[in-house]
């Protein structure tokens, strides 16, 4: 059997992901996160292979079979609409994708948003679907990051962005008025790998779950 290839998300999700995969036995305990976080590809002692990619790119690697499995946020999966299996909610990396408006705008709900308002977001697909579903016509401005800046400099009227604590929003005088999705880290699987390596993958899912339950147990005791 070939080695199992896993696509890991760089950035804030990386250390909780590695920790949970170490507990599940997919990555060996001695692995130095600081060392590997600068690499793009590494092999672990157990002969498993790992790719490090931007969270947004993880679904593409998995869909095209460059990786058998991958871990990334639900927000990214929803935005990408890739043809993959979503097998497990890992429970960490929680954040919400919210609609946020300037505090002084007087807008309380999404239905107060005037027609043809401009919304800045790094999630154009999710945003478009959300407003369409709610019958609100908006104009989308795609931005790669620092979306909070857009209303301040006047290129958009409000934003759709992720928020975990709400601090960044508050700092920029923005208030959330609606939640679009609740996101957390998910384990995704290539369509064919799900079939060809089914037992191996299901076993991994179970081990990750057990690792989590043990944690919960430890916290109580």
């Amino acid at each position: 059997m070939n080695k199992l290839v896993t696509a890991l998300p760089k950035g804030r999700l990386l250390s909780p992901v590695i920790e949970s995969l170490q507990k599940a036995g997919l990555i060996s305990k001695e692995l130095d996160i600081d060392l590997i976080s600068r690499k793009l590809v590494f092999n672990d002692k157990k002969n498993n292979s790992f790719l490090l990619a931007k969270p947004k790119d993880v679904p593409a690697y998995v869909e095209h079979g460059a990786a058998d499995i991958g871990i990334t946020g639900k927000d990214v999966i929803e935005e990408n609409e890739r043809n993959i299996y979503e097998l497990l909610d890992l429970g960490y990396g929680e954040c919400n994708l919210v609609v946020a408006v300037p505090a002084d705008s007087g807008i309380k709900t999404i239905y107060d948003i005037p027609e043809h308002s401009r919304v800045a977001s790094s999630y154009p697909n999710i945003s478009e679907n959300f407003f369409k579903k709610n019958g609100i016509q908006v104009e989308l401005i795609y931005l790669n990051g620092s979306v909070e800046l857009a209303p301040q400099v006047g290129i958009s009227d409000f934003i759709v962005d992720i928020s975990s604590s709400g601090k960044t929003l508050a700092k920029n005088d923005l208030i959330p008025i609606a939640e679009i999705i609740k996101s957390s880290a998910r384990l995704i699987v290539n369509n064919v790998s799900y079939k060809t390596r089914h037992n191996e993958i299901i076993e991994l899912v179970n081990r990750i779950n057990n690792g989590r339950n043990n944690d919960a147990g430890n916290q109580v005791s």
């Binding site: 095209h64 079979g65 299996y85 979503e86 369509n191 079939k195």
Partner: protein, 414 residues
């Protein structure tokens, strides 16, 4: 489009195949068609363009955006066919009196899907497939055996066909206590393969996840047969078992597995469904199923049918990583002639029809090192130079040079 360089590119998702790839492509196509023909499937050709509304009749509304659409002079909306089952069902409905049902049809056809940009997907897909249209209790079994035989004949090894049945999950959900919206959501999550949301949904509606997501060998059929208690699901399982047992009797059971969570998105399937895959390719290579209500949508006559499509490019990709050298083993010969030797060359050409050679002709006076290196690179096996008095033969494999004086001597050496 002002830049000349832009005009050299093909539109996104569409591409040209140069001979090295095209040769492999057509070789694989012939190997598959050979099996279709042997099993009595006769070719059908349908137009590349269909009325958009006609194509939609058979399909789910949400596939709408995947169509390439064209407006003709009369203002009709036409679309490039995104698959062949609906066009064939339409044609059969329209020409039923000329066809003797049940009818076995095969096709080779490019189909077009307008996938969202930058997803790395081909938008022109070369499909080979069959449709068995009409009543026949053996059809499901024949179709699965035919699919395996066709894939085997391409040289593909270690592939599997996952079987499932639309009525299995429908049977479980056919329960008055489950509200229609929830049923639709569950099916949606199965199609999207979003098992996180699916499990949450099933749990909150007191449904057993294990029944929905079983995959494995024939043992899982035995396993769930004990757990489900509705007639429809049990009948579906029985049908799956019958297919398996027949394929086993035929000797191909190693190629079969089951995935009861498998739902194919197109929306017209009504019974057995399946898809095939190999270890070394991240995409499925073929798929199909039974569609007993589709012909009825076009003709108001209920005619059962079952079929599959194989993605030729995906078979090529699955094989590419192994070896595809078998195609270039043919006797490929470079024929050279000097002006005085042309007559001898023409005589030779009129005598070799039965030899199954591939040759290429050029004028040249002698065979030198530069020529030898060049033709070796192009994978020629031999070079033959026709001169005034004699014929020179150079074997590129053994590096031996022969001087020959008549045609018989030469033909014996080939």
């Amino acid at each position: 489009m002002n830049n000349v360089n832009d005009l050299l590119h093909s539109p996104e998702g569409l591409k040209s195949y140069l001979p090295d790839k095209a040769e492999v492509f057509f070789h694989l196509k012939e190997r598959i068609e050979e099996i279709f023909k042997t099993w009595g499937y006769r070719p059908i050709i349908t137009p590349m363009l269909e009325y958009y509304d006609s194509l939609l009749l058979g399909m789910e509304q949400k596939t709408k955006k995947d169509f390439y659409k064209i407006i003709d002079y009369e203002g009709n909306i036409l679309a490039l066919r995104p698959e062949m089952t609906a066009p064939i069902a339409r044609t059969v409905s329209n020409r039923m009196e000329e066809l003797n049902l049940p009818v076995r049809l095969s096709y080779y056809a490019p189909v077009f899907r307008y996938d969202s940009p930058q997803m790395g997907k081909n938008r022109e897909i070369f499909q080979l497939g069959v449709e068995f249209i009409g009543k026949n209790s053996f059809a499901d079994i024949e179709i699965i055996i035919l699919l395996i035989e066709a894939l085997k004949n391409t040289g593909l090894k270690g592939f599997k066909i996952d079987l499932s049945h639309t009525k299995y999950i429908e049977g479980i959900l056919d329960n008055k206590e489950i509200n229609e919206n929830i049923k639709a959501e569950i099916k949606n999550y199965l199609i999207q393969r979003n098992y996180v949301a699916l499990k949450n949904y099933l749990a909150s509606n007191a449904l057993d996840t294990d029944l929905f997501l079983k995959r494995g060998g024939i043992e899982i059929i035995t396993d769930v047969e004990k757990k489900v208690n509705n007639e429809s699901s049990l009948l579906a399982l029985k049908e799956l078992r019958t297919v398996y047992e027949n394929v086993k009797e035929y000797g191909l059971e190693d190629y079969i597995s089951f995935d009861l969570g498998l739902i194919r998105g197109l929306g017209y399937y009504t019974g057995l469904i399946f898809e095939g895959f190999t270890n070394n390719l991240g995409y499925t290579i073929c798929g199909g199923g039974r569609y007993d209500n589709l012909v009825e949508k076009y003709s108001a006559r209920k005619v059962p049918a079952v079929g599959f499509a194989i993605g030729l490019e995906r078979v090529r990709l699955a094989l590419e990583k192994k070896e595809l050298e078998f195609i270039n083993n043919k006797n490929k010969i470079k024929l050279l002639f000097s002006r005085e030797g042309k007559k001898r060359l023409f005589k030779f050409l009129s005598n070799i029809q039965d030899l199954n050679l591939i040759f290429e002709i050029d004028e040249n006076k002698f065979i030198d090192k530069k020529l030898i290196d060049n033709y070796r690179k192009q994978r020629f096996n031999k070079m033959i130079l026709f001169k005034d008095k004699e014929i020179e033969l150079f074997d590129l494999a053994s590096e031996k040079r022969f001087t020959l004086y008549n045609q018989e001597e030469l033909i014996n050496k080939l």
